[in-house]
């Protein structure tokens, strides 16, 4: 499949996402320059981390006016999978493709460290290769990742099962001490109602190789590759998967995790063995 990676002038994780997609996953990858209204045939679009236009006003506030974002919005409306990472997440919020906003971190300081994420929903194209409840160890690196939404909006987001990743302790328990930025409901990752647009503050592209200290980010990339493989046209497949509840997936996967999963998503076993080997690494 082909990854399209948007490049705003202040993007600085664009090469990292490109490297993960092409060199680690062995997929096609193309950079999408922000001034070009052209997705170059991408099957999935990544809005990478960075500080798109300097972000002196608000993170992501200017990027939504870029020509590329018009195309990304249309792509998302057609059901195309879009992943915003860090600043990309902030851009999705500013563009209204995802609900809510980001505040400065509780403690007001930038934080770069590995955190633990509990996978809440697996019926999105970016979490389908994970187990519900699985704990992923993936780094964050941001100063404004304190997710905020008014309480009504927050209730609606929760009711729609749009929270797909939460900050947790290493065992997957929610605990404020393990929430690195003060995010409401410990929200680390979110999808839209149609479940094809996902934003997450942590950086899965920084956790795809054992040499870098974790391979748990592969779960995110393997999900999208798996979702694409199981259908010629990603969008109808994605809608089907949206209908399957997380609970059903969990039940189906539980008894013999790797086998069952391997049949359902060809890519899954790869993701899982990668995670296991991370656990073993000395």
């Amino acid at each position: 499949m082909r990854f399209g990676i948007a490049v705003f002038p202040g993007s600085n994780c664009d090469e990292d996402a490109f490297h993960a997609a092409r060199d680690v996953l062995g997929q096609d990858a193309e950079y999408l320059w922000h001034k070009d209204a052209d997705l170059k045939g991408a099957d999935v679009v990544i809005l990478p981390g960075g500080f798109a236009h300097g972000d002196y006003l608000r993170t992501g506030a200017m990027a939504r006016f870029s020509p590329i974002m018009t195309e990304v919005r249309a792509f998302a409306d057609r059901g195309g999978p879009v992943l915003g990472i860090c600043n990309g997440f902030q851009i999705l919020l500013e563009s209204g493709l995802l609900p809510g906003a980001m505040l400065r971190n509780r403690g007001l300081k930038y934080r770069c460290e590995h955190v633990h994420l509990r996978v809440e929903q697996i019926d999105t194209p970016f979490t389908s290769a994970a187990r519900a409840g699985q704990v992923l160890r993936i780094p964050i690196g941001h100063g404004e990742g304190n997710y905020f939404a008014p309480s009504e909006m927050l209730q609606r987001i929760e009711a729609n099962r749009q929270v797909i990743l939460r900050y947790a302790d290493p065992e997957g328990r929610l605990d404020d001490a393990w929430n690195p930025n003060g995010s409401a409901n410990a929200i680390a990752g979110l999808c839209n109602e149609a479940r094809n647009v996902v934003g997450m503050m942590p950086h899965p592209e920084r956790a795809c190789e054992a040499l870098l200290g974790s391979v748990d980010g592969r779960a995110i990339f393997d999900s999208i590759v798996g979702a694409f493989r199981s259908a010629d046209q990603p969008s109808p497949r994605l809608r089907r998967s949206a209908m399957a509840s997380a609970e059903a997936e969990r039940l189906a996967l539980q008894p013999s995790v790797v086998g069952a999963a391997g049949n359902r998503h060809p890519s899954l076993s790869m993701g899982r063995s990668a995670s296991l080997s991370a656990g073993r690494s000395r």
Partner: protein, 779 residues
């Protein structure tokens, strides 16, 4: 004739003024005077230091670019070059910590990409006064936030560094920043202007009145009026720098460029002059064409502004459109402000009218050069005396205040054991309090509070993140990795600048070797007081001699660097502080080694000899508030053999962890090997040393002495024989001192356990000390 007060404001002596008149054959006009003043400032001309710097070794088959360019470069195989340099931003950081530090980072990044290299890693070396002071905490927070704000935004990881705290830096903090980039060896770009008629372009931020005379400020001492110098500090814009970085690298991929230089210290003046001088040409510009942020700027102000994020380019004639198109793509405006000439003059015009005309050579090669007088200061002989017999090893840790950062339960336990120890002689655990006090000292304690504010993972190359020893980044598309470390020890250099400087080189190179990398080259940042004082000049000269000796013996040529003098306030100078950055090459990235023990049951081997040297140690400082004695002796041959051995052991995958013994000695080193490991404990047993009459002091010397050329490695039991054999063959002392396992730190001296402490408690003290100090501000 210009008034003496005007000369003084420009930092020029009457003699220097006479020299200017001689060069010009007339009196300079005010613009010319300003240009001379910045180019002849210590910061730009190195007039006091040059005679000494020339003695440093800078050659070697691996050196692709030595001193004199924007940065140095070494060959790292695969046709690639590592381009790196360290630079100081001390004076601005004291006056305005956030912007001072941020623009320091911006400046060193520009030096690297100017060479055609993509910057891939940053390090920093910071020195502050004691953290107990509110003023220090404000500086620390500002400097760290500034480094983070700039580096994180532009997307270059800060992969390591060092910080220490000493009263001598209270009013003169040191902010030294190191940057490393990668270029194709064949594509290194130089800062030259050549080819008469080639157009000169200005690109980047507009010129404002900020930073005028920044270089002159950095060439004078501070006094009570220093806070008024704030307008001389520049303001950084990392977004602009990101655009410049990408656009300049894209321009360099064409062959339309002749040369390029950033406008750092002394701005447009320095870049035009230096480029012309290097190319043996002249440069002519019209300041009216320079994009300006403010109205009514004079030629003087435009030439001397140190506004950030600006570059000067010389482009091949006929290729202008190509270059302009690339800058347009990045929404940057490249402005044609002049051209290269053949006459070797810096000619500045304002709307066509010549306002300054000076031979380039007068500003660069012919700048004043001083062999300043030097005298060994009186304090040295006195401070080198150390009477260990006069000390009681437990005496100082008998009150709560002495235990500073420890939490309550640790304190209670420590005090209890101290009282006990007095009554009945040493028992297991009696030296726990000493170990905990040193682990909680800000200089030794974990710097996590600092480095988690730095994005150290962006670019997905960081395989040894901060806190684990040297910073290590892999080189994508090759098997290789680069290790880098910056080190310095002001206390050692204060006691003996020659030995202290050698130790700094050795430690930086040793840290790189501990990661498994072969040291290739070095860069230095020399932070000293006022060179017009003979005592300071003596410190400087001795330190440079020490650096030279160590670099020659360890085969790490100096490829560039920076000198920062006048680090004084009201006549009180900082400790002489040479900071050394060393870069090394790891043939296989996946062979990288960190300080952490890997598994219980491994053997712990000490490479090198312990001689119980406590002079200038962290132990003396923390427990006895003393900065005395001789710094540890250093045998450069032993050091070189040790480093070669480390590289071999890593390449053969024989060592699972390696950690250099430095501040706090063996006990602290071994404890640190246990931290961040999911609680792997250790038990070691070492020999007594005989350095004092009191037996307890001998025990402390064995545990906390800082003898150089020592490394703690852990080894799978099956490999112990192989490691000892390799060490014997390399003529490096090596002995098995213990094994990993359990959840406690147990350390015995001469057969008696004197430290017995849970890893958890020790790690809590070590990992939270700095946070606790910083939190005090709110309390």
């Amino acid at each position: 004739m210009i008034d003496p007060p005007v000369l003084e404001r420009h930092g020029l002596t009457p003699d220097e003024y006479d020299r200017i008149v001689q060069f010009l054959g007339r009196e300079p006009n005010p613009t010319e005077l300003g240009i001379f003043s910045v180019m002849w400032s210590e910061h730009c001309s190195y007039k006091s230091s040059r005679v000494h710097l020339k003695t440093l070794p800078s050659d070697g088959p691996q050196v692709l670019q030595g001193p004199g360019e924007n940065a140095g470069a070494v060959d790292i195989g695969d046709g690639l070059a590592a381009v790196f340099k360290i630079e100081s931003h001390n004076h601005p950081s004291f006056i305005e910590p956030y912007q001072g530090a941020a623009t320091g980072v911006g400046g060193i990044i520009r030096d690297i990409f100017t060479m055609g290299a993509r910057p891939i890693a940053l390090l920093n070396s910071l020195r502050f006064g004691p953290l107990e002071s509110r003023g220090t905490r404000r500086l620390v927070e500002g400097v760290v936030a500034g480094i983070a704000g700039y580096g994180n935004s532009i997307g270059i990881p800060t992969v390591g560094g060092e910080i220490s705290f000493e009263p001598s830096y209270a009013d003169n903090p040191l902010v030294n920043v190191f940057c490393l980039g990668i270029a194709r060896a064949s594509d290194i770009v130089k800062g030259v202007a050549s080819g008469a008629g080639n157009p000169v372009y200005y690109v980047g931020a507009k010129t404002g009145r900020d930073g005028i005379h920044g270089a002159t400020m950095a060439s004078a001492e501070f006094d009570e009026k220093s806070a008024d110098k704030r307008p001389a500090v520049q303001v950084g814009d990392p977004f602009m720098e990101k655009l410049l970085l990408e656009a300049c690298l894209e321009v360099m991929r064409t062959d339309a460029l002749v040369g390029i230089q950033d406008m750092g210290a002394a701005g447009l003046t320095c870049s035009t002059t230096e480029m012309g001088s290097r190319g043996g040409a002249g440069v002519e510009i019209d300041v009216a064409l320079v994009p300006q942020r403010e109205t009514g700027m004079t030629p003087y102000e435009i030439m001397l502004s140190e506004s950030q994020e600006r570059m000067l380019l010389v482009v091949k004639r006929g290729r202008e459109n190509e270059v302009e198109r690339i800058f347009d793509k990045w929404d940057l405006h490249a402005v044609h402000i002049g051209q290269v000439t053949a006459d070797g003059m810096l000619r500045v015009k304002d709307r066509g009218q010549v306002v300054a005309e000076i031979p380039n050579r007068a500003l660069t090669d012919e700048a004043p050069l001083y062999e300043r007088p030097m005298t060994e200061p009186a304090y040295v002989a006195e401070a080198q005396k150390l009477d260990l017999d006069a000390l009681d090893c437990l005496a100082e840790a008998s009150t709560l205040e002495d235990l500073g950062a420890l939490d309550r339960s640790a304190k209670a336990f420590a005090l209890h054991s101290v009282a006990d120890g007095r009554a009945r002689g040493l028992q297991p655990g009696d030296l726990n309090s000493v170990l905990l006090s040193i682990l909680g000292s800000p200089t030794v304690a974990s710097k996590r509070w600092v480095y988690r504010q730095y994005d150290h993972m962006v670019r997905t190359n960081t395989i040894n993140p901060p806190g684990l020893g040297a910073g290590v980044v892999r080189i994508k598309a090759t098997d290789r990795a680069l290790a880098m470390s910056v080190d310095g020890n002001g206390r050692y250099c204060y006691l003996d600048p020659y030995r202290g400087a050698m130790l700094a080189v050795a430690e930086a190179a040793r840290n790189v070797a501990c990661a498994g990398a072969r040291p290739l080259g070095a860069t230095n940042c020399l932070n000293f007081g006022n060179p017009e004082r003979p005592a300071i000049m003596w410190q400087f000269a001795r330190a440079v001699e020490g650096i030279g000796a160590a670099c020659r013996a360890l085969d790490v040529p100096i490829t560039g660097g920076n000198v920062s003098l006048y680090n004084e306030t009201d006549g009180r100078a900082i400790y002489p502080t040479p900071t050394i950055g060393v870069v090394g090459l790891l043939e296989r990235a996946d062979h990288v080694v960190s300080r952490r023990f890997q598994e219980a049951g491994d053997a712990v081997i000490l490479l090198g000899d312990s001689r119980g040297e406590l002079g200038g140690s962290e132990y003396l400082k923390v427990m006895h508030d003393l900065v005395r004695g001789m710094p540890p002796a250093l045998d450069l041959d032993v050091e070189h053999r040790l480093q070669t051995l480390l590289v071999t052991l890593a390449a053969e995958r024989l060592m699972r962890s390696a950690h250099d013994c430095s501040d706090g000695g063996l006990a602290v080193t071994v404890a640190e090997c246990c931290f961040d490991t999911s609680r792997i404990g250790v038990e070691i047993s070492i020999d007594r040393v005989q350095v004092a009459r009191e037996s307890r002091m001998n025990v402390c010397a064995a545990l906390f002495g800082e003898s150089a050329s020592r490394v703690v490695v852990s080894v799978v039991p099956d490999d112990v024989i192989a490691v000892l054999e390799r060490a014997a063959a390399a003529d490096v002392p090596a002995r098995v001192v213990g094994r990993t396992g359990g959840e406690r730190l147990r350390m015995g001296v001469g057969g008696q356990i004197v430290i017995d402490q849970s890893v958890d408690d020790a790690e809590r003290v070590w990992s939270t000390a700095i946070e606790q100090y910083v939190a005090k501000r709110v309390a």
